[in-house]
Symmetry: C2
Subunit: 275 residues, 2 copies
């Protein structure tokens, strides 16, 4: 399970985190911004663009979540798939997902041909506002293949739990993508925890945060592309930005030669984590 | 389980990591060095001194481990207890432990009155040399009370596994102490992973490494005292050193107000970690 999925001679996967600054509850304007970001990314050779949590609605929509929510395959999903097709890249994005009477914070990975490769419902909700508006997912790890790389998908607070990230790594991920909405004063999550998750799992990570403010929230930026050895390949400041990095089979193999944590785990010892 | 054990008004616990430079396979000389370090620590008000892995024998003793090994309560343990008593502080130290035909890499926490408060056998052995010389422990988390703080105990490679550290945090630890022997080029473990373990568990950590060289190994130092918010309270360079920090109930409470990861875990999701 620690083998690199992509063969050593395979080309790298150029990935980007889109650190978006607004808008809040204006989906048409957000689609215009996403289209511009996708054009920018495509011009830089990006194959996979990762967007912030609740990409098109904005994050701080608590009381409006049910009203803004759409089922999988709804209008927002169709618009994102069209942008992916127009610019010839895959997009990992997030939206308030309606499923009958419940609403989830979901993310999906859509390829340039419109195929939805993976879908995940945020399993670790953050704080009372999220608990009031959303239902958590089941945390089952999802992975999909993209250009020979195995890509996993989590949302925001999920990545702070080493247990949840480990499940994705054990499912074979070479790369974890994570839309997020990380506010001040929690920048340490991006600069410390995200890098640790990459290092301890020998897995690259794209962590795409917001910039700017929404109501009382100020986002701390610091979106990043981190290599499987825990080093930053690219990191944003606190302004709107597109940060680009390349995940390579050689770098994955090097990290997995230097560290063998997945193989050295002792699962029989960890029963106390699952109660 | 996320409550601070010590009451907010309680005094801080002054702790130190002793970053020792040799000797290898010279227990009498190592005891002299430990005695000097304990005197230095006591003069700085230290209540708990944490020593490197295989404190008195040196780490790189592979073929000699069986010969150097002693049972719990053996001559090395008695000598360490005497040093603790002489200088009036608790000591967390490590030795090759004989138990019948098997040898473990063990650590124990001995109080200044000679009471052994906790004992742990390294559960994650590192590499083929350790696997050839030692038997791993069962990984069951051990904690003990010291001046109102709950102290947990791991050894070296154990701390690189978030699962193992989480078990100690779930057992109620305010402070994790970890003798280690971290060699180049793995300094990232101390500067990144140890800080992440503290942050994600809201638990202070003392990580005591070696300095200098043993045979072909060069240790990277970087011993540290890290607060429950993941910030360095003290960190050594790569030379022999004694680094001192204070764990306070107020800082623990602040970290646990800022982050509530232990309460927000979803144990029912984590079955895949335990197979």
């Amino acid at each position: 399970m620690t083998d690199t999925t992509a063969s050593p001679g395979a080309p790298g996967l150029v990935v980007a985190a889109w650190q978006a600054d607004g808008p809040l509850r204006d989906v048409p304007a957000a689609l215009v911004a996403l289209d511009a970001a996708a054009a920018d990314a495509a011009a830089q050779g990006v194959r996979l663009l990762v967007c912030p949590e609740l990409t098109l609605t904005g994050y701080d929509i608590g009381p409006y979540a049910a009203e803004l929510a759409e089922p999988a395959g709804g209008p927002m999903a169709q618009a994102v798939a069209a942008i992916a097709a127009a610019h010839g890249l895959a997009i990992a994005w997030s939206w308030p997902e309606r499923d009958g009477a419940t609403v989830h914070i979901s993310a999906e990975l859509v390829d340039r041909d419109g195929t939805v490769l993976a879908r995940h419902r945020k399993a670790h909700l953050y704080g009372p506002d999220e608990a009031a508006a959303y239902v958590p997912g089941d945390g089952h790890p999802v992975v999909a293949s993209l250009d020979g790389f195995t890509v996993g998908l989590l949302v925001c607070y999920d990545i702070e739990f080493p247990e949840q990230v480990r499940l994705v790594a054990l499912a074979g991920a070479d790369l974890l993508v994570c839309p997020t909405a990380l506010m001040e004063p929690y920048e340490t999550v991006s600069s410390l925890l995200v890098r640790a998750r990459a290092y301890e799992n020998q897995m690259a990570i794209v962590y795409a945060n917001r910039a700017g403010t929404e109501n009382a929230l100020t986002y701390c930026g610091s979106s990043c592309v981190v290599g499987a050895d825990g080093t930053d390949l690219a990191r944003a400041g606190d302004e709107a930005a597109l940060v680009v990095g390349t995940v390579t089979p050689v770098a994955l193999a090097d990290a997995r030669r230097a560290n063998t944590h997945l193989a050295d785990r002792r699962p029989e010892v960890y029963g106390g984590l699952h109660r």
